[in-house]
């Protein structure tokens, strides 16, 4: 009762609790990285997980927080990857310098695409435009052969190094990638907790209400989209490092859908959910590799449907809940499917004050 604060993040006791939880999250992430570190195959899986996590962090900002459906995130990862790769192979730039460049290029192109698109009224426009944009980028990469290597892609992207220490070894590269993933998460988390995050959420909740209290919703949608693209650009830099080879087909729209489903399965409403989804699905897809690519995608699709059906808030909604609460959640969802005709289920039964 007395715990009133003008922030939207609640008060002191909660802060302590979340700090505790934050620490656990970091430990789980580090444990995953440590597990991957000792095996060179798993190191690559770990790097891919981190790359996907960075791209999904961006997606959570635009599609989770602001609820604007983005179907072309992989194209922005591609922009980052190609920027970094071209600067390194053609101009001999230092790896570390290509990181800010990739972020800026992806973010800038994101802004250029977002400004006209998000000016259009609500609706599926952004989804349509971003999906087509991904294909345009693909065609451009194929045709700008002198710069991008066309259909052959770019090979032999040099590994990063500091002084005489080279990060060519996947285990070492994993550590660098993980460090940047944590940095990306930290930055995104700061944004999400800032007034920007609250504006993004207000757009998701009700654009009309947000406008009525004076939020320039168009501006904040464009900011969210630009940020999302910038995170994808960062992811791209490490994507290029992962195999040292990039090819235009890897950035087409089906991979953007993969990223979006990672975010949804993990829990698109929170950054933690997005990262969790990116890691679990990247690992799961690797484990399914022996099944062949068709069966893999089917398994993936089934997983998406199951999660949407039974865990609409993503896997993250299971975490930190008691078994009895989880059982209740599932029985609630099953009820929705069995007798929704008769009565709508009461939304999150709340105890009246």
């Amino acid at each position: 009762m007395s715990n009133k604060s003008l922030s939207l993040n609640g008060g002191g006791i909660m802060d302590k609790m979340t700090k505790h939880k934050d620490l656990i999250k970091v430990i789980i992430f580090l444990a995953f990285i440590a597990f991957c570190y000792f095996d060179s195959y798993f190191s690559i899986v770990g790097i891919r997980s981190c790359v996907n996590a960075m791209a999904v962090i961006g997606l959570v900002l635009i599609s989770g927080y602001t609820r604007q459906i983005h179907l072309g995130q992989m194209a922005f990862v591609g922009l980052g990857a190609y920027t970094s790769a071209i600067l390194m192979t053609k101009l001999g730039w230092n790896f570390w310098l290509t990181i800010p460049c990739a972020i800026i290029v992806a973010g800038l192109i994101g802004a250029l695409l977002g400004i006209p698109t998000l000016r259009l009224r609500d609706g599926p426009y952004l989804a349509l435009v971003t999906q087509i944009f991904g294909e345009v980028i693909y065609v451009l990469i194929i045709n700008l052969e002198p710069l991008t290597g066309g259909t052959f892609g770019i090979n032999g992207i040099p590994a990063p190094s500091v002084g005489s220490v080279s990060f060519a070894n996947p285990s070492l590269l994993l550590l660098v990638t993980a460090a940047f993933t944590m940095l990306a998460f930290f930055v995104a988390n700061k944004i999400a907790k800032s007034k920007y995050g609250r504006f993004f959420i207000s757009i998701r909740e009700s654009e009309a209400a947000a406008q009525s209290v004076g939020v320039n919703t168009m501006k904040y949608k464009i900011i969210a989209f630009t940020l999302s693209s910038a995170f994808a650009g960062l992811a791209g830099v490490f994507y290029a490092q992962c195999f040292g080879v990039i090819n235009a087909t890897e950035f087409r729209w089906s991979f953007s859908l993969e990223l979006l489903s990672m975010a949804i399965i993990g829990g698109i409403a929170s950054l933690e959910g997005g990262v969790l989804g990116a890691i679990t699905l990247t690992v799961a897809l690797e484990m399914l590799r022996p099944l062949g690519s068709a069966a893999r995608m089917i398994a993936y699709g089934v997983l998406v449907i199951l999660v949407l059906a039974f865990l609409p808030d993503g896997i993250i909604s299971l975490i930190g809940k008691r078994w009895s609460e989880i059982k209740l959640m599932f029985s609630d969802r099953i009820k929705v499917f069995t007798d929704d005709r008769k009565k709508k289920r009461p939304k999150k039964a709340k105890v009246d004050a």
């Binding site: 009700s206 009525s212 320039n216």
Partner: protein, 235 residues
Amino acid sequence: MLEIKNLTCHYGVIRALHDISMTIPDDGIFAVIGANGAGKTTLINSIAGLVTPTEGSINFNGTEITELHTKDVIRNGIALCPEGRRVFKSISVYENLVAGAYIMKDKKRVEENIEEVFRLFPRLKEREKQLAGTLSGGEQQMLAVGRALMTDPKLLLLDEPSMGLAPNLIDFVFETMERIHKELHIPIIVVEQNSEMALSVADYAYVLEVGEMTLQGTGQELLESDEVKNKYLGA
């Protein structure tokens, strides 16, 4: 005093409002009635700065607000409660009110205004910590109005406050409106499809028809006018 002169609005090539002029003094309840698509919401939105007029001017207490962004319109003392009970569903009632005053720097004033809203709507005080999405329709409407009152408005714009509410709640909404008017001494412009209710509480009212103002008069006059009776009151 709000002065609207020769206001014309377009959505692309479609003309939504044509040559509207009205003067709203500093006290009273003013109703704008009309059928769907008559331009009522466009009128309210252009006052609030959500729609930029193609022609004409809007002046509030001596300040030209025609081209201002919503944020600055609110700073000038105009508050909008949008149609359809738009609340921020996944945050609490209290936080919704805080969000309503996000343009205000003075935190103490925000706290005072929250207390004021709770005084007007004790029901919201009871549900202070509850998520806004779990409120009933009537309570959400109260919250949307309360949120609009958070910025110390000198003019309140209400867009279809009775939309989608049960008949007994509609009475309540209009009573509340009269109460706000009486207690806060601010003029209210209410846009309504429920013409009978709107006219019965309004001091003065305007009728919009396909973007043009066809009739105006006191609420009583319009209630008794044959044209209004035929078209809007179904008598």
